[in-house]
Amino acid sequence: MEPLRPSDHFDSETPASTGIAQPKLDAVGWLRFAWRQLTSMRTALVLLLLLAVAAIPGSLVPQRSADPNGVVQFRDNNPDLFAVLDTLQVFDTYTSVWFSSIYLLLFVSLIGCVIPRTRHHWRAMRAAPPATPARLKRLVGHTERQVPVDAAAALDTGERVLRRAGYRVARYGNSLSAERGYLRETGNLVFHFALVGVLLTVGLAGGFGYNGQRVIVQDQSFTNQLTSFDSFSPGRFFDETRLDPFSIRLDEFEAVYDINTETGAPIPLDYTASVTVVENGVERAEQIKVNEPLSIGGTTSYLLGNGFAPWITVYDPEGTAVFSQPVPFLPQTSTLTSLGVVKVPDGLDEQLGMIGFFYPTAATLESGALTSIFPEPDLPVVTLNAFTGDLGVNEGVPRNVYSLNTDDLTQITGGESGVESLVLPLGDKVDLPNGLGSVEFTSLPRFVSIDVHHDPTQEGVFISSVLALLGLLISLFVPRRRVWISVVRSDDDGVTLEYAGLARGDDPGLERAVTDVADAHSAALGAPTEPARV
């Protein structure tokens, strides 16, 4: 039996010419017409190409999922364009209505095509090959051979030869009809079902996943609970009780660098975070590296970033510490010149905010400004611009700890305040202006930023992808073909046989295959393996 294919598959029969006196369609007729259109090859092809085109905008414009900061930057730079594009969901291309409708339609089309084909293929695999055509002469690889046996013996041997070559054989009168390569259609169906498998896994299991980010400073611990994450994105069906209970403490972070001898730029060679994991009350030492994430329970933790968290201590005029903690400074350059913010809301006469840079290996540029020439702390220096006024932290509105809104503040060091910025080498302490107090760069712990993921789709997507690849290989490289052996005439010397084949789908090796069958058959019957002279 033929594989069931959409009517516009090039191997399907050409539909009789339409256009003359088409019957009127009722509602069911129209629905059937629409369904046939949707499941046609042409629609699938157009949807595939549309999907390719629709994916392009997401690579041109930053995406909220992959690059949220880029989106903010885009809004600041092009506020008008942003509004238009945002309405069109271009910043969420891959979850947008238009992108989703294309791939959902594509999958509906795919399922509508594949399910009837599966039913049909199931029946075909149990049916005998179709009857031998009356005339084989015009088919591929047609050849005739003379063999010195009678028709029955020739066909018996022919059947054996074909079966050994993997053909399914049926006898029709004085001929054999054989077909092989059913696996081609099986592979094709497996490939398409596997793609549905990928989509279903992501759609269903994806809702149960979550991922969260957290900065962990040296000697501090992070506990896997909702409130300890700096940022957290739950799946649709996420439930807080599903968080595996564990904690991670950063014991040490080590970075190894080389120097490019020509440009002097640092070349990172290795990052290692040594951590202590506590799970179910059991402590164990572990390492997290790039490309070597750490699995704990159902989660995986990845090392995504690292930097320095200078320990800043602020004293009031009496010398009492009113603020003392490590402050993560966010790296800005490959030499880890980093930007950080210190907020001291209590303990001084006024609220104090400071924006500062950290230089692991400080050097002075010709302009007098500081820079960092190496990412390791060979000569660590913090510079701070201090502000006083209302920090806006008392209204209960969540504020970004990495930024300071200076609009309503008074600058007291750096900039146009007339006072030099505070420059603090490690261990130094300087006074703030106006007898406000003093600031100390106490010590220099490191920090790492960790991504904690729980992704229940991984196994399903992996299995589906492997099945898709296998199905693809089979469907592209296993040839589906029919071969016939037919007795042309019998005489006293034996019989004359003819052989021919028919390809189902691309099959450049068909002619050779027919010849091979004829040769093997002749050899099995003790006849010369060359075409009979006709």
Binding site: F10, L45, L60, A66, D258, K289, F462, V466, L510
Partner: protein, 325 residues
């Protein structure tokens, strides 16, 4: 180590010199074929076209039935220039291959960790696919296209993308670098060859449609139907490798970045290319889309591969920022 890097460059420059000569010879071969058309060749080509149009209407399998005629036409179409050109291409490739291996030895790792090295390796593999494909079918008529393309690519990567040998950054320290990138280059090589065949197919079908137009050497090539079948067979191999690249990349991304798919710009373009070639395979099975239209899809697909390597690497912001520039 420094010596290896310098030697590698010498080998690559020498390869470029030899490729230049090879390109000139391949071009002369095509010119020669355009000028003098042996009668037998014209007859062969015409027969082929005639039966090809019969084939279109009945079944694709006839394409194979006419191949003996085509091969005969090819053999008589080849000129002395082509033999010299091919020998030079082999010599150039040996230098090219040697230069790429030396570059790997200089770094003590696989030679495809930045754009320059990837350019060397991908073109070496593409050229290798072309040379080894001759054991399968005589595709030497693509010589001018492949050597020209390789020469141009080598020129661009050595002049614009050259970087010194530097150690691998932590994100690239993975066995997947070896597998993922190597298979991606293989896929690129097959797509390059497939695009060449599709271009020839378009030239051939245009020449068949308007006998007076187009390039005359096309008459010495296999007919459009045969070229289409060859292009398809080369492109589906590329497609399988590309599918593998995509899956391997996802597995690596899960290890290195914490998710197997995140619509990073490079991932997006890998997906676009995959979708385009999936479309190409469907087009080859859709009535009305075989022939010229599917050939255009294959060419657009390969252009997207080139775009992905150049424009996306250099100008798009993303996680695959390993150009070293």
């Amino acid at each position: 180590m420094e010596n290896f890097a310098a030697l590698s460059l010498v080998a690559i420059y020498s390869a470029m010199g030899v490729y230049t000569l090879s390109f000139i010879m391949f071009t002369l071969d095509l010119a020669k074929r355009s000028a003098a058309r042996p009668v037998a060749v014209v007859a062969g080509a015409t027969v082929n076209e005639a039966s090809a149009s019969v084939a279109e209407s009945s079944s694709a399998s006839v394409a194979t039935a006419v191949r003996p005629v085509v091969d005969a036409a090819l053999a008589s179409g080849a000129t002395r220039f082509q033999r010299i050109a091919f020998a030079l291409a082999v010599l150039g490739w040996l230098l090219h291959f040697g230069g790429t291996v030396l570059r790997g030895l200089a770094g003590g790792r696989v030679p495809w960790a930045n754009m320059f090295e990837f350019g060397l390796t991908a073109t070496a593999i593409g050229m290798g696919v072309f040379l080894f494909a001759q054991f399968w079918k005589d595709l030497k008529f693509l010589g001018a296209y492949i050597t020209g393309f390789t020469l141009l690519s080598l020129g661009i990567v050595t002049v614009n993308f050259y970087v010194d040998v530097v150690p691998l950054p932590p994100a690239l320290q993975s066995a997947w670098l070896v597998i993922h990138v190597f298979v991606a280059s293989l896929a690129t090589g097959f797509f390059a060859l497939g695009a060449g065949l599709s271009i020839m197919q378009l030239l051939s079908s245009r020449r068949a449609a308007h006998k007076t137009e187009g390039l005359r050497f096309v008459d010495t090539l296999p007919g459009a139907t045969t070229l289409e079948s060859l292009a398809y067979r080369v492109n589906v191999i590329g497609f399988v490798f590309w599918t593998f690249t995509l899956i391997a990349g996802a597995i690596w991304a899960e290890r290195a970045w914490g998710r197997y798919w995140g619509w990073d710009t490079k991932e997006v373009w890998t997906f676009i290319i995959w979708t385009l070639f999936a479309g190409y395979i469907h087009a080859r099975a859709t009535r009305g889309w075989r022939g010229d239209r599917s050939a255009w899809l294959a060419i657009v697909g390969f252009s997207a591969v080139i775009f992905n390597y150049t424009i996306v690497n250099l100008f798009f912001k993303g996680l695959h920022s390993y150009s070293g520039l």
